[in-house]
């Protein structure tokens, strides 16, 4: 049951295909099996489902028409950006329209004076920074998938990147959204100023996983490129000591631009893949980037170097030049595909924990990994406490996927138990619905459903994702008793 969106009765309405063909050019409505195949999953390929039909609008007006049509026929709609999501947020519904925003790929306006850019939702994350580079500006959030993922998907997931320790997540770096409501109305949230009147709907929309509206335009905030960036690479002979060093740096009042950690399996995989000259015998490495004003960076590099050595680093390298700095990052940025080369399949987790728990939690993950017999490589945003354990498995071995999911679930519940959360940046999608039942009680989930209903009373936008039904939680809870207490004591169990 963990591999399906929340249960809803299927209600396919093939007439929606005919009607879509009236609204869009023939090539923009896909309905044959062969045409639908590329859309059957997002980055979480363990979950697959073909939609009833794919619509590829290219104007806002068309999106409005599609939504009016689907609202009238009561057909569910799943928005899709680039399909790199890792939690099944863009997983189609068998009776639903998959609304691809791929054709919305224009940068509408760059405003260097106000340091903002207005872009369509299908624009790739990296394309924004490339387009504004000549103004000395860039868009800060940089998910590792930035060459492929869309800004609309970034907003819907509130994506982060290696630089969000200092520069924040998507929610901190956007100013305004234009959306189409489930009824097909066009509306705006946020403004080009630093705030807007009324409730903060911009914050609410960010990370709402396509459940509250279709994003058709994003105004992003741009930052001036820092004068200088400098990276250090520190080796440790224990994961625990590397974790403690992270807290030391933050505790000393330094906020690095990025502070990333890789454990030995991840180091070896990355080194074999991109030859970044990583210390393959180290138990863990930390990559720390400091950026900003030249004078400031010089001082902080010396402070961080000393902090790392005092925290027990066996070796600290400071990048001699930009080429070496980029080499430090190369292995980190390629870590997921690198792990993909050493294992037939991997399953990427995304829990966040308080920084002081890094050492103990990593040790406990190693124990859980040994118990399950599946190896785990860790590569993650240490400065934020955002873990990405990669569980290595082989889907061709019967039962291994289930084992991987079980181990993943146990890791996420561990994150909640130490005061963290089940997802730091990849979203809930369909993947973490069960773990949401661990993190939230029935009043909280009911409140979230009420918020959903405030935007989408009929439940047509990406239904069954992100927030589990109480029913599902009751079933999950019956199988899964935490700390000896029932999570939903008020609900009947069956």
């Amino acid at each position: 049951m963990s591999r399906i969106p929340d249960e809803r009765p299927l209600n396919p309405k093939p007439e929606v295909i005919t009607e879509l063909r009236r609204l869009l050019p023939a090539a923009s409505v896909l309905a044959t099996e062969a045409e639908l195949a590329p859309y059957e999953c997002d980055g979480l390929s363990a979950f697959q489902q073909r939609p009833l039909v794919v619509a590829l609008p290219e104007t806002v007006e068309q999106v409005q028409q599609i939504m009016r049509l689907c609202h009238r026929l009561e057909v569910p709609v799943v928005a899709r950006g680039a399909g790199t999501g890792l939690s099944g947020g863009a997983l189609p519904l068998a009776d639903g329209v998959l609304l691809s925003l791929a054709k919305f790929n224009r940068i509408i306006d760059i405003d260097p004076a106000n340091r903002s850019a207005k872009v369509q939702p299908g624009v790739r994350n990296l394309a924004i920074s490339e387009a504004v580079a000549s103004h000395g500006l860039y868009y800060a959030p940089d998910p590792s998938s930035q060459i492929a993922c869309s800004i609309g998907g970034n907003v819907a997931e509130n994506s982060g990147g290696v630089h969000c320790l200092k520069y924040g997540l998507t929610v901190h770096n956007i100013l305004k959204l234009k959306l189409v409501s489930v009824e097909g109305e066009l509306f705006e949230v946020g403004s080009e100023a630093l705030d807007s009147p009324g409730l903060d709907l911009l914050a609410l929309m960010t990370g709402s996983e396509g459940m509250l509206g279709i994003i058709v335009e994003v105004t992003v905030k741009l930052l001036p490129k820092p004068e200088r960036a400098q990276a250090l690479l520190a080796s440790f002979d224990s994961v625990e000591r590397a974790g403690a060093a992270v807290a030391e740096i933050i505790g000393a009042g330094i906020i690095p631009a990025g502070l990333e950690m890789m454990d030995n399996p991840a180091i070896r995989a990355a080194e074999a893949f991109v030859h970044a000259d990583y210390p393959v015998d180290a138990a863990a490495i930390l990559i720390c980037e400091l950026d900003g004003f030249n004078a400031e960076v010089s001082v902080d590099v010396m402070r961080v170097r000393k902090l790392l050595l005092d925290a027990g680093a066996t070796d600290v390298r400071t990048a001699a030049d930009d080429a070496e700095r980029l080499r430090f990052w190369k292995g980190r940025k390629a870590a997921f595909p690198a792990v993909g080369r050493i294992s037939p399949d991997y399953y990427c987790m995304d829990g966040t924990i308080p920084r002081r728990q890094l050492g103990p939690v990593l040790n406990r993950i190693a124990e859980l990994s040994a118990e399950s017999g599946l190896a785990v490589a860790n590569v993650f945003h240490a400065g934020d406490g955002n873990l990405h354990p990669l569980i290595l498995y082989d889907a061709n071995n019967p039962g291994e996927l289930e084992k991987a999911e079980e181990l993943g679930g146990a890791i996420l519940e561990l994150c909640v138990a130490v005061g963290g959360t089940v997802t730091g940046e990849h979203g809930v999608g369909v993947e973490k619905l069960n773990q949401m039942c661990v993190q939230f009680n029935s009043a909280e989930l009911t409140q979230m459903h009420a918020v959903k209903a405030a935007f989408d009373p009929k439940g047509l936008l990406n239904p069954g994702k992100a927030v589990p039904t109480l029913h599902r939680c009751a079933e999950f809870g019956a199988m899964h008793v935490h700390h000896g207490e029932l999570k939903f004591p008020e609900l009947p169990r069956f």
Binding site: N158, E188, P226, F293, E296, R356, D384, G419, T421, H426
Partner: protein, 427 residues
């Protein structure tokens, strides 16, 4: 802070809300009442005092986060953070000694550092909140990144208590910079705005900018090396640190004379590069140009205190130029002999009446809102003396029909019986 937490205060708040729900009585929620002036008037039957619910729940400096009960005095929390060399990055205004954390979050107002660091909303990580059904709920958390479920914690920021009663808040904190310096230079409004934009386009460690009375103030923070390097780039004369701190406090707390008295004070939030003449007559510009304060006179005589402080400065008069007409201006020119006052707190304190297109006899809400909207922003009637009639549609800029419907639906989703702060945000 080894203070004992009172285990009964949360329950007391829950019980009062539950009782109000049964009785069908509306509540006006308050902490220290320091921001009672802000927002639309509330018509409620009873008060809900959150200031009883105080105390620090968790504070671990290396986590860069603090969790406090909503009724905890803001000043107390800031003192605790300072002991550990930390601070709130958004420099919240207090508007009085009694300010509480709950009020800070519900009002969602940030201070001078906002465009260069974060807003209250940016820094909120999680909330514990009581909805109108009497349910206590936790959203968000204490960790930096959390996308589990909708971001209902940030939705609470600036909601002015219309969705629920904040019980606890977890907020991101930042290390205090090693040093700071404020540089002052004489600039007219258009060139000050141009400089603010030029600086913002470079990665400089700026933590505050303000234009007032013909002077441009810029605050930078960092190591000694960074400060001297930045000073070389920015130019201007350094202010004594104590005086500079008093200046930024006066800006943040609106202790400048132009913020008090028989006037309406408009808060105009616009894209930073908005031209000076797009929002004519701004008295004070903050946030690198993104925040402009406008007074509208309502035809009453300037109060004595204002007039006397005005006398202490000279440079202010220069800005008014020949179009000056009001009584206070001619006074300021005649008494402006001292000639000193550049970059001092006293010079900052007095904002003299401005000429310009916005008439001195009261600006209509429509006019201010139209200017703000044309620039891509919005205007709020931030403070107004009791004698000033409020705009019929409230102090906040009206919402689009879709946004208004979403506001009403969200209110219904959190507070179906309309118990909390009816009318404070929108009718």
């Amino acid at each position: 802070m080894a203070e004992q937490l009172d285990a009964n205060t949360e329950q007391a708040i829950v019980e009062q809300v539950t009782a109000s729900r049964s009785a069908g009585t509306a509540l006006t929620i308050h902490g220290g009442k320091t921001k009672a002036f802000y927002g639309n008037p509330v018509s409620a039957d009873a008060e809900l005092d959150c200031s009883i619910h105080r105390g620090v729940m968790a504070y671990e400096p290396t986590e860069l986060a603090i969790t406090v009960r909503a009724g905890t005095p803001l000043a107390e929390v800031e003192a605790l953070l300072a002991e550990q060399g930390q601070e709130f990055p958004f420099e919240p205004p207090h508007f009085g000694d009694q300010a509480t954390i709950g009020g800070m979050v519900a009002a969602g107002l940030s201070g001078p550092r906002r465009p260069y660091a974060a807003s209250v909303r940016d820094a909120v990580l999680g909330v514990r909140v009581l909805n109108g059904k009497g349910e206590v709920m936790d959203f968000g958390g204490r960790v930096m990144k959390n996308v589990a479920g909708y971001d209902l914690s940030r939705l609470m920021v600036g909601s002015l208590g219309v969705l629920g009663v904040l019980l606890e808040v977890s907020i991101k904190v930042m290390p205090r910079p090693l040093g700071r310096i404020t540089l002052v230079q004489e600039q007219d409004q258009p060139s000050a705005l141009a400089l603010m934009q030029r600086w913002a386009g470079q990665a400089l460690p700026i933590t505050g900018t303000a234009w007032l009375n013909g002077w441009l103030y810029v605050r930078v923070a960092g190591s000694e090396e960074a400060l001297s390097e930045t000073q070389r780039i920015l130019g201007g004369t350094p202010m004594a640190n104590q005086e500079a701190d008093a200046f930024w406090t006066a800006i943040r707390e609106q202790q400048l004379d132009c913020f008090v008295g028989e006037r309406a004070l408009w808060r105009v939030s616009v894209p930073p590069a908005t031209a000076a003449d797009a929002i004519p007559g701004a008295d004070l510009i903050e946030w690198g140009g993104a925040l402009r304060w406008l007074r509208s006179e309502v035809g009453t005589a300037v109060d004595a205190d204002h007039a006397s402080t005005v006398g202490a400065i000279s440079d202010a008069g220069a800005r008014i130029g020949s179009e000056s007409e009001s009584e206070s201006e001619s006074e300021s020119e005649s008494e402006a002999g001292a000639g000193a006052g550049r970059g001092t707190v006293s010079s900052a304190r007095a904002c003299v009446a401005t000429g310009g297109d916005v008439g001195a006899d009261g600006v209509s809400a429509e006019a201010v809102r139209a200017l703000a909207a044309a620039a891509g922003g919005h205007a709020t009637l931030f403070r107004a003396a009791a004698s000033i009639p409020l705009p019929s549609d409230g102090v906040f800029a009206p919402l689009s029909p879709v946004a208004l419907r979403l506001h009403q639906n969200l209110k219904q989703a959190f507070d179906p019986d309309g118990l909390f702060n009816p009318g404070r945000l929108y009718q």
